[in-house]
Amino acid sequence: MNILETKDLLFDYSGHKVLNGVNLEIREGERHAVIGPNGAGKTTLFNVITGSYKPSSGSIKFQGREISGMKPYQLNRMGVGRSFQITSTFAKQTVFQNARMGILSKQKVRFNPFSKVDKMHKITNETNLLLEQSNLAESADMPAGLLSYGKNRALEICLALSTDPQLVMLDEPTAGISKDETKTLVELIRKLTENKTMVIIEHDMDVVFSLADRITVLHHGEVLACDAPEVIKNDPFVKQAYLGTLEV
């Protein structure tokens, strides 16, 4: 079954068609990578799906329900989580407080002006558990803004997963971090997204081919190909458009 489906998705940015009829089918439980050269429309595709932008036309279905035009908070409550290409955390708050925001939302304590948040033991315990799973427990009391870049990326993923979404969309989680850190991060992603559906935008081909069950290649706002990694590797069009210079 498809958890996410887009049909003829079009996004027109003042005359420039950033997405030009994207048809995407994400199967439930799979790890799906979206690749493509810079400016192919990958992040825009994420933004349109997760509610930052309204699509100009076309439909987006999540678990069979039409979701195009819905707001990010509504989509999050339905079970769509996302991370950002440029780290988007609460820099002045501690790592614990960062993660707790997600847990508060997950436990539907979104609008409680009465209880003391520090005394909510269930929330505290669950936050600690999440931090442990994300290998961030040691940095729990540190302001997020003081974390190393690699840890910050881990926190970004931790936040995306904190509300326990069924569909996780990660926008270049490993961008800008070292090879060693990438390895740890990929393991973390693999561990945390178990039993979930994941869509990932990634430039690092090692990451893509080690994580993804299927790959979609985006080029000039159109889907060039969508298939298993082995097939994509050998696709002549894809090679020409994107992989050619990389000699995979």
């Binding site: 908070y73 999050n76 939302s105 003391k116 803004g145």
Partner: protein, 325 residues
Amino acid sequence: MTKIWIKTLAAIILIGLLIAFPKVMGVLNTNIFIGFAIMALFAVSLNLMLGYTGLLSFGHAMFFGLGAYTTALSLKHIDNLPISMALLLGVLGAVVCAVIVSPLLVRLSGTAFSMLTLAFGQLMYIVCLKFREVTGGADGLGGFPVPDLKIPFTGGIDMTDPVNFYYFAITVLGGCILLIWRFTKTPIGSVMISIRDNDNRVDYLGFHVPSVKSLVFIVSGGFAGAAGAIYALFQNMVSTDGVLGLFTSFNPIIMTIIGGVSSFTGPIIGAGLLTILEEFLLRYTDRIALFNGLVLILMIKFAPGGIMGIWDGVYRKWFKRRTLS
């Protein structure tokens, strides 16, 4: 354990000092202190928006003013109204106003938000100025009765007595400040701070940002209304320039920035500092705003974190705590 003891001890000392204040310092200083406490609550309520949620309001006087006018008007027109009811009506007036304007404001942030609050504040000012039959216009509304505080099983307590009124005002204002402090410790408090830091992320975590903002707006407005209501009882006089003017909106902002935006106690310290400065300067000159402005400029230039920011820096140096503010 020791931490709790220190806290309890500090609270007892503080309460003791507050009780002893009018006996030690005399009536004049007691009245100055009430003025300070009113401004402290007003500034703390503003800081819920400015410091905690990151929304700069130039129209916070509309809640202060509405609280003051509602209390004054209800005491003038309703016979035998208990003082507590007058106070509650003042808060209610401000809350109703906040409920009405919040849908227009909560989807905005930054400059647009500030400008629109300025517009609403000025609108309220003009309405009260021109609605002379009810509000008394520029002359204001004065001489309304201030009823006794009735406590069951005891006689009434005379509220026109400055010392009695001091105890009443300090209890209400202090209670309000404690309630606001408690409010910042709730899940909504965490969400507020997160909206200030990164509202986009809050949205993506499943929180409806506009409704949180409007709750903050209403709570903040309600407490500003309480400060205004006490002000009306204290002065026994409300006028448009006194409670709704631009300076009434700017004063708590100046206090908050001088005291420190990113802390709860900052606005209280700022209010205290400006009150002391004002009392000192009044011996020499009437140009208080000139000096307030000077302090504000110096503070923004050399210590943008305010007094509490300076304290944080010292604290970090001494205890080597890693903080980011």
